[in-house]
Symmetry: C2
């Protein structure tokens, strides 16, 4: 009926990736509980059984979505941390990156963010949870380093990281990638308020927040569309 988009010689992973992509979008749009095999299968013109064949259970499917997402985020974070040294620049990079995800990978980002809570509860999510914790630890370490280096005013690094993550992870509830609000502007404003709030001087704040500045450019290069 629906002719195969891939070459008839069978794609490497079959339609596995296709399934995961569609499922991710459905989770982003309706949430995990409301996303179901039937709709995904119908949209792809395949049987529900095919999905089960590839992933086993719905839980495992979500776990794989989360793990793939976090792996990319971790790789990117390590990449830009390797290029940026100053704590204020590093914090700004996390903000620029966080906003960038919402635009460049809206589906996976929303799916991840609206279902984060399952990382805590559900079994089978240990890997994804560990990845998330690792990411958070990177941010906490940067905030801590900044305080010790005297770049940031003294304060609780962990609480600050939660305050920062909150702003970014909440974006899925209001940010529309197709809207007229530009992501660079969001990132810039968030950067300015946050860095100023950490006690960084106005000149360095402006430089790090600038959408055309070196920090934003570094993040853009590192987070380039993957192969």
């Amino acid at each position: 009926m629906t002719e195969p988009v891939v070459a008839p010689g069978r794609a490497r992973g079959g339609r596995r990736d296709e399934i995961l992509t569609t499922f991710t979008r459905h989770v982003a749009e309706r949430g995990y509980d409301r996303a179901n095999f039937g709709d995904v299968a119908a949209e792809l013109g395949m049987s529900k059984g095919t999905i089960v064949h590839h992933f086993g259970t719905k839980d495992r499917m979500l776990a794989e979505v989360q793990e793939r997402y976090m792996r990319r985020r971790l790789d990117e974070a390590h990449a830009f941390l390797g290029r940026l040294g100053a704590p204020d620049e590093r914090v700004a990079a996390f903000v620029h990156a966080g906003v960038r995800y919402s635009t460049h990978e809206p589906a996976t980002t929303v799916a991840f963010q609206r279902e984060v809570v399952r990382l805590t509860d559900e079994p089978g999510m240990e890997t994804a949870r560990a990845q998330r914790d690792a990411y958070r630890d990177l941010v906490v370490a940067v905030l801590q380093d900044g305080v010790e280096a005297g770049v940031f005013v003294p304060g609780d690094a962990r609480l600050r990281s939660l305050q920062m993550f909150g702003s970014l992870h909440w974006m899925w509830t209001w940010f529309d990638p197709a809207g007229r609000l530009r992501p660079e502007d969001v990132a810039a404003e968030f950067c300015r308020t946050l860095l100023r709030g950490l006690g960084v001087g106005e000149e360095r704040v402006s430089a790090a927040a600038d959408p055309a500045g070196s920090v934003a450019r570094c993040v853009a290069e590192v987070c380039a569309p993957r192969s």
Copy 2:
């Protein structure tokens, strides 16, 4: 079987409030989709039919939870805005109040926050959505006033409000009211970073963030446990 906790002479509204409270807790713990009539009824030792009798549908039940929650938040906000005049104090009050909810009304707060997205999608949520918008507008107005009065450095009030709400609304994913992290400390740290980020001077930042200061006390009085 289970003897009625209320006086045998039948409570005022019947067991309506009891049902709503238990349902709210279930939504907070499992999310709306996983919360169901059967479990609520079993926990209260009543029939599913009773719940339907009082509320009609599950949707309406959630709508009522959200509306009740937002009405209280709006009342409180108007109350402390009436007592505080300075923009920085007002912003601090919103933060103190936001953190306070997570401790004093954990169930309703978590239920509201984890299901906010339904305010946008679902029909029947118009009232709750309007209340939420009204609350947000209060914050935006305060931020805007602060900029115009020269108390805050220039910047986008709407974006700043979203940044602020994000930090507070994300709390449900990590804050444990029974944990050893004290809510006053969270509020203080959030206040300091935010106000400093808005360009407020260090002395006023400390005063407004102080858990024992006048702003925090004002919020505590206004948000006192309701009758």
